[in-house]
């Protein structure tokens, strides 16, 4: 199970959504696709599912074009996934016909978990309930590539936590390539094995989480010590308060052990903050 983008470009009118985007995702694993609003995440995810054609470049999912044979992918968007007039029972029946690996028993277990009654119409569901239905369809599809694009609009913290547990449970039960795009990065970060950051339609970062954590850290100390350690090199973010300075650094040129020799305190940077500062408009999304 893999997804490959090769120089994919997509424009909507004068706006460039994807700009020569290239990457390869190899599963099974849980991947976080991150980026700011308008970065091109949803466009990229829709392309993986064969929904949006690229202007240039090629996309391969499990060895074939998603536009010729897209059955490998299940895409659950943040909303509008289901026909409003359908009941939940009809929605599941329809999904079961589209997804060859569909597990009806699991779907019904998940419905119970999200307190969804099969007789209810989709239009009568709250946002959170509709998200629960989306998660149910996504997980029960057992598609080799399962994509969740902001899947939990309207879900409370407890239900989101249940979703994260379910995702891990399902991954252990049948490993597949899960791609999760979310703005609640800190919550979901513990799930990710790989992280992708897209910025202005291009790939800014693609790394496994362990390497990412080892390559990025914060240093805190007196302004003098921090400045001396930085030695003219630009951190991705710097803040000062009451005579002390904190700098966020990212990249192979930075060494955590070396920083500690400068009497600086070091700490991990949450992935959310890393994404925010790497895509900061002040640095133009560059280190």
């Amino acid at each position: 199970m893999n997804v490959q983008f090769d120089n994919v470009t997509k424009k909507f009118g004068s706006q460039t959504a994807l700009n020569s985007l290239s990457f390869t995702l190899n599963g099974p694993k849980i991947v976080g696709l991150l980026g700011r609003n308008g970065a091109g995440k949803t466009t990229a995810l829709n392309m993986m599912a064969g929904c949006i054609f690229p202007d240039n470049g090629s996309i391969v999912v499990n060895g074939s074009s998603p536009f010729a044979q897209p059955n490998n992918v299940c895409l659950i968007n943040e909303s509008g996934n289901f026909k409003k007039d359908f009941s939940i029972k009809e929605t599941l029946k329809s999904a079961s016909l589209f997804y060859p690996n569909w597990d009806q028993k699991r779907a019904e277990e998940l419905l119970d978990l999200f307190h969804l009654k099969k007789s209810k119409k989709v239009k009568s569901l709250s946002k959170g309930m509709e998200s629960g239905l989306g998660i149910t369809v996504g997980l029960a599809s057992y598609s080799p590539v399962t994509i969740f694009d902001e899947p939990y609009i309207g879900l409370d913290a407890a239900a989101r936590s249940r979703f994260y547990d379910l995702l891990i449970e399902e991954y252990e039960r049948q490993p597949r390539l899960f791609i999760l795009s979310t703005h609640l990065i800190d919550e979901a970060a513990k799930l990710f094995e790989d992280v992708f950051i897209i910025h202005k339609g291009a790939l800014l970062l693609h790394q496994d989480v362990e390497t990412l954590r080892s390559m990025s850290f914060s240093i805190t100390g007196t302004k003098k010590d921090v400045t001396e350690y930085l030695n003219g090199k630009a951190p991705i973010h710097r803040k000062e308060f009451a005579g002390r300075a904190t700098a966020y650094v990212y990249g192979s040129e930075w060494n955590r052990h070396e920083a500690e020799l400068y009497r600086l305190d070091t700490d991990s940077i949450p992935i959310q903050e890393l994404m925010v500062h790497l895509t900061d408009s002040h640095t133009g999304g560059k280190k």
């Binding site: 466009t43 054609f53 026909k83 029946k93 329809s94």
Partner: protein, 235 residues
């Protein structure tokens, strides 16, 4: 391949079933009310041709919204565009047959009630198969309705595809252009000779030609949507 086509047909049929049920309940009630009112209040001649118009209008709307309504869903769920078109084409064909059969039954029942039970000689039902003969058979009435039903679905599907793919401006321009063509005097003469042809065989053949025009519309739709992205909100 076949599984996805089956899935498209199931999706389309589940949606159509509900809307069609409501349509037939409303149309059946209207016919019933018309018969009651004709029986109770009217002394003069009453001509009822609205059932055919209602049926074709309903199917035109169904065909028009099919692209936006069904294509987005089916492709997101994993059908290719070709599978979607094959599924929806078969679905249109089956819908045309079923709707034509129901329409013929409704009109035949209405004729039976008015002529035989209520002995109302002043109420006349008109349908397109009356162009073939004064008292068309069940089969010929159904075939004519089916041919025209498919034509309505397919042409509206094409128009829906143009709106979906190219947007409102080009869609409306296409409609305006089509309207201008239909207003052309020579085209109108041809439509007149089509409706009031010399023989029933010639008229039936015209309906068959309409059906094949529908098939052509369907293939043009394929050309339009085979490279269409299905995320209208960001298209």
């Amino acid at each position: 391949m076949m599984n996805n086509i089956k899935a498209v047909i199931h999706y389309e049929w589940t949606g159509t079933k509900k809307a069609a049920s409501v349509f037939w309940i409303i149309l059946g009630s209207t016919v019933l009310l018309s018969i009651i009112s004709a029986y109770s209040f009217t002394d003069g001649e009453v001509y009822m041709g609205g059932t055919s118009i209602a049926l074709f209008a309903y199917l035109t709307i169904t065909g028009f919204i099919a692209v936006k309504d069904s294509m987005s869903y089916c492709i997101q769920r994993g059908a290719t565009r070709n599978q979607f078109l094959a599924g929806i084409g078969l679905s249109f064909l089956v819908t045309s047959i079923i709707m034509a059969v129901i329409h013929t039954i409704l009109v035949e029942l209405a004729i039976l009630v008015t002529k035989d039970f209520l002995n109302l000689k002043t109420v006349h039902f008109f349908r397109l198969s009356d162009l073939l003969s004064t008292s068309p058979s069940f089969l010929s009435a159904t075939v004519v309705d089916m041919l025209l039903s498919f034509f309505c679905l397919a042409t509206a599907f094409l128009i829906g595809a143009i709106f979906f793919r190219f947007g409102k401006t080009i869609g409306l321009s296409f409609l305006a252009f089509s309207g201008l063509i239909l207003m052309n005097a020579s085209i109108q003469t041809k439509i007149g000779s089509f409706l009031f042809g010399d023989s029933s065989n010639a008229i039936l053949m015209d309906f068959v030609i309409l059906f094949f025009l529908g098939v052509i519309c369907f293939f043009i739709t394929w050309l339009i949507i085979r490279k269409t992205s299905i995320h209208p909100s960001i298209q």
